[in-house]
Each structure stands twice: as C-alpha cells, then as structure tokens.
C-alpha cells in the first residue's frame, strides 16, 4: 500500500479501536461520587441480642467498622439499566452491588428480587465443600446408574 493509504487505514483502525474500548468501558463504571445525600447506612438490622459473647456480628453501635453505601451512575447493560451501589467499609470498597431498575420507572431505584446474571466463579464453591445429594433434571433409573448421586449412594456418602 502507498504510504498515504497506510496512514489512513492506521488512523481509522486506531479510531475504531478506541471507540470500541470506550463503549466497553462505559458498560461498567466504578465512578462513585460520595455525595452525602445518597449515603445509606446499611447494617440496619441488628443481630438478635445474645448474652453469650459468641455473636460473630459486631453490633453497629459499638466499635463497628463504618459502613456506607454510595450510589453511582446509571449504566446501560444488556440486561437493562443498572445502578451500581458500592459499599465502603472503613473507606475501603468491600462490595459492589448492581441495583436493577425495574422497567416501569426510570427515575426511582427499586431493589429487585429478580434473578440477575451471576458468574460461574461466584457460584463455584470451594472444593472442600462436601456434597451429600445432587439435584438435576430428572434422571431415569438407567441414567441414575451413571450419575453422581449413585456414586454418593453406593459409597454411603452422606456429606
């Protein structure tokens, strides 16, 4: 190719790559303006009071870490509009939560109990978890014989 053509293709390609990258970054942003108006104290629910000092949950009124949640900007994802709520514990991000906006209202943020995408890595438990039963789509007797459940049953494994 001539030099001028190479330059054109080079610039064009770079532009399109940058556009793609920008589009991809906009899908999730960790921009969290720490505006006081949107700070929501969480850990409102206190654990049932126990006199034994064995509660693993420090109550918020004692030397509890300061936990705040801040709402970030609304982004468009393939599954709908999502607003990110970032949870900060003692100033460090400890959780990032997607609040799915319901279809009916764009303006009010409603927390949804609906099923949302989850990564396989989040779902994959530590290998040390020991299984007693396995659920899956109904297996016939024939299929049972080669199933994980039959291996567990034959070994008398109860988990």
């Amino acid at each position: 190719m001539r030099r001028s053509s190479t330059a054109i293709v080079g610039v064009g390609s770079a532009a399109v790559l940058v556009a793609g990258w920008l589009a991809g970054s906009a899908r999730f942003t960790t921009d969290v303006p720490v505006a006081p108006a949107t700070q929501l104290p969480i850990a409102e629910t206190t654990p049932p009071p126990t006199d034994a000092g064995t509660s693993p949950l420090p109550t918020p009124t004692e030397e509890a870490p300061v936990v705040v949640a801040c709402n970030g900007q609304i982004v468009e994802t393939r599954y709908g509009s999502v607003q990110v709520q970032v949870v900060l514990t003692d100033g460090a991000i400890t959780d990032a939560i997607a609040l799915t906006l319901t279809d009916s209202s764009e303006t009010s943020v409603e927390v949804s109990a609906r099923a949302a995408p989850i990564l396989r890595e989040e779902v994959l438990a530590a290998q040390s978890a020991v299984v007693g039963n396995v659920t899956g789509a109904t297996y016939t007797t024939q299929a049972y014989l080669s199933s994980v459940q039959s291996a567990l049953d034959a070994a008398g494994f109860t988990g």
């Binding site: 190719m1 390609s13 790559l17 556009a19 990258w21």
Partner: protein, 469 residues
C-alpha cells in the same frame, strides 16, 4: 484586480491515459488491502465494546481473552484468504489474480497458527477457571457443549489442508488428493460457524456484532460461490469451447487452437492467462494455467505450450473436438497495465508467447515500442516469425538475443552481448521511462528485473508474468 496565472494555463500537463488508469488501479488495490486491515480493527473493536478488555485486567483471564482475540483475527484472516482465491474481478483488475493467489498461499500458515492458539489458550483459560487440565477440558467441551465437536473437526481439517500444502507433502500427493483436501476448507468454515455464534456473548442475539459477523461470512461465501463456481460454469456453458487444431510449433512445443460460441463476448486481452481443463485422458482433473499466445480475435483462442513434466506432454494427444473447460481470463500482464507511453517487452523461450499476444494489443506510435526476444538457440525462439511480422507491421523495434549465457557472471544476456558490454539501457534506449514487461523462466526474469531496477526503472513499471504459480 484579479491576477490570473497565465503560466499555469499554457503548461497544464494532461495526465496520460495509462498513468491515470494506473493511479486508479493503485487506489483500488489500496482500498482492498486497506479494508482488509480495517476489518481486523473492527472485529477487535466489537470485542472491546462487548467488555472484552476486562479479560486483560487480571492474570487469570488473560489466556481466555487472548484466545478469543486469536480466534477472531484467525477467522477474519481466513475469510480474507477465501476472498483472495475467489477469482473476484475487482481483485484481478486491481492486483492481478496471480498476485492474489500468492498472497493466499502466504496467509495459510498464519491462519492455522492463530486458530491453534485460539484453541490452546481457551483450553488453558477455561481449564484454569474450572480446575481442569487442557486435555480434560477439551474432552468435556467435545462431549458436552453443543457445536464444539464440529469446531474441533473444522480445526482438524485446517491442519490437514496446511499439512498437505507443504511443498514436501504436496509433491507426494496426487493432484486430486491435494485439491480435494484443499476444498474441505469451505467445509471447515461452515463447521466452525455455529460455535462462534452459540458460545459466549460477543455475537449474541440482538447485537450489532452478530449482524456484522454474519454478513461477513455470508458475503464471503456468496462471493466464492458466484465467482469461483457459478460464473465460470455459466461462461463454459455459454462459450462451449472445443479444440479445433493441435499443431507442433517446434520440438517439444505445441499450439492448441480452440473455438466456441460468442468468443467475441469473452473480454480477454493479450497477455492474460486462463486455467484450462481439457476433456482428454489424463488431463481432466487438473486446470493448467497457460497464457494466450495470440490476442483474442473473436473467433478462436490459442495457447502455445512447452512440454514439461507436469502433464503438458499429454496435450499432443488431445483430439480436435475435445471439450475444453476454462477459468478466466486472469492477469494484469496486459497493455492496459501500462503507465507511460513507452513500452519494452522482453520474452525468453516459452515466455515469448504472452509477449506475442500482448504485442497485438498495443497501440503505440512507432518508436515507442521495443521487443526483445531471448533464446538459448534459434529453436527456442518460439513464434519468432509471428513476432517479426507484427513488429514490422506496427513499426516496433525488435532485438533478438540468441546464445547461452556466459559461464562466469550472472546475466540475462547471451555471452556475446554481455562481453560486448550491452545492457538493458543500450538495448532499450528509452529506459528508465518505460513500462517493462518481462516473461520467462523465473531465475532469468529476476536477473532482468535486477538490471532494470539498477537502470532506474521504478518497481511499479516492471510487469512480470509469473509462470510459477
């Protein structure tokens, strides 16, 4: 007060017609090549827009991300490969089918490497995430995930295609065997298609990416179908080419004249070549590329072929009346490829034949055309009489160089002329401002090109007919 620039008006240089055509061709070639490069950027941009950059933010997803990118670029390159071999007229007119085919052959191995990398990296990446070694991961994928068995078969086909195309292997295979495996590439493309759409999110339903990718594939396969198969088929049905006469020109050299219907509509030019498939014992299976040895005259087509070991010796046994299937015309070795008004044609041995055909197509005023014929001896100056006749008729200068090259020194000239100090500049005085057309055995042609470059002929004005494809 308006000042006009009179100097400009008087000395406006009209761009010569050939130069303009050359520029147009160059632009077209650049556009084609530029679009190909750009398509890689587009598919990568789609990957990034889908959030693909997140694969590169941590070490664990790095193999998966790189694997996906390798697959995207590999498939895109494979489509370019198919288009290069699809005999697209726009490609032939811009860079010449022979150059396109050379590029096609060069890209074969990179495609395979990219797709192998795609597989390996994904096996490692998914295996890391799911805690399996690559072999177990591969087995899981083949046995449980839809469309992946086909993708694995497609990869196996690609490996076979590349292996059988390696020079070492190709010589050992019968032509049909190699060709059959090669055509399986189309099957590989189709088999690999479903898994690209079914796995992952990039080409998911409702995305722009899906439409784009689908269009690329459909477009490429449609182009291949039309230009590689349907149009040649239609042309053959229309022209019904048959052998009219077979005659020996010289020991070991034979001319075949063919006639058919509507040959005046066949838009061929002197200097172009066709792929010929003679319906004759031993010649059915392979399409041999030979240049026309006379410019198409609307009535017949003629080729002149030297018998080498590749089955061309069987041409002598072709009977008049035998059906001929052709593909083409192809090639940029034509009068239309000129960029200036001065032309020099140099042909050696059987390379004289396209030169002879080209000659008829050139409408240059006398004095602007030099023809140089080269042969080891008189016998090797094929079609010399015809060339002399034409040169005399149109007033072109003709130089005939006969004799073996010297033992010492590498030159394209015979020993006598070389010793006498002749160079390309003395034989063709208009150099370097000429278009140089060279046709002959590859080592000899390269020597001519070296001398021409040394004499200052720019690369874009040296046209060489490649006989080695």
């Amino acid at each position: 007060m308006i000042r006009t620039n009179h100097v400009g008006v008087d000395s406006v240089a009209h761009v010569a017609e050939p130069a303009r055509r050359f520029l147009w061709r160059q632009r077209r070639a650049d556009t084609l090549e530029g679009l190909s490069w750009f398509s890689f950027a587009v598919v990568l941009a789609l990957f990034l827009a889908d959030g693909g950059w997140t694969y590169f933010t941590n070490i664990r997803d790095l193999p998966t991300g790189t694997g996906i990118v390798a697959g995207l670029i590999g498939s895109n390159l494979l489509l370019v490969l198919l288009l290069l071999a699809a005999r697209l007229p726009v490609v032939d007119r811009a860079i010449g089918y022979d150059l396109a085919l050379a590029a096609h052959r060069r890209l074969g191995k990179p495609v395979l490497y990219l797709i192998l990398a795609h597989l390996m990296l994904l096996l490692i990446g998914y295996g890391l995430a799911l805690g399996r070694d690559p072999v177990a991961q591969a087995i899981t994928m083949i046995t449980t995930m839809p469309d992946l068995p086909q993708a694995f078969i497609a990869l196996t086909i690609l490996v076979l295609v590349v292996l059988t195309s390696l020079v070492i292997v190709r010589h050992k295979l019968p032509y049909l065997g190699w060709y059959g495996v090669h055509l399986l590439t189309y099957a590989a493309v189709l088999l690999a298609l479903p898994h690209q759409f079914g796995q992952g999110e990039l080409f998911a339903v409702g995305t722009w990416a899906r439409w784009y990718w689908l269009t690329l594939y459909v477009g490429t396969l449609a182009a291949v179908l039309v230009y590689r198969f349907l149009i040649p088929l239609a042309r053959n049905l229309r022209h019904q080419l048959r052998v009219a006469e077979v005659r020996a020109e010289a020991p070991g050299v034979v001319s075949v004249v063919m006639t058919g219907h509507h040959l005046d509509r066949l838009a061929a030019h002197g200097g172009q070549f066709f792929g010929w498939r003679f319906w004759s014992p031993g010649l059915h299976l392979e399409a041999h590329p030979y240049s026309l040895s006379e410019a198409p005259n609307g009535q017949s087509l003629r080729i002149t072929v030297r018998q080498l070991g590749d089955g061309s010796h069987r041409l002598l046994s072709v009977r008049p009346g035998a059906r001929v299937f052709f593909e083409g015309p192809y090639g940029l070795f034509t009068a239309a490829a000129r960029t200036t008004g001065h032309t020099v044609l140099i042909g050696a041995g059987i390379g004289i034949t396209p030169i002879r055909a080209l000659l008829e197509d050139i409408d240059t005023p006398s004095g602007g055309l030099t023809v140089i014929l080269r042969g080891d001896d008189e016998e090797h100056l094929y079609l010399r009489r015809e060339v002399e006749d034409i040169c005399g008729r149109i007033g072109a200068r003709l130089e005939v160089l006969v004799g073996l090259p010297p033992h010492q020194g590498r030159t394209w000239l015979p020993s006598a002329e070389f010793a006498a100090g002749q160079t390309i500049s003395t034989l063709a005085p208009d150099i370097p401002d000429v278009d140089l057309f060279i046709c002959g055995p590859k080592p000899w042609a390269e020597l001519v090109m070296r001398d021409a470059r040394a004499a200052g002929v720019p690369r874009h004005r040296i046209h060489a007919e490649r006989f080695d494809w």
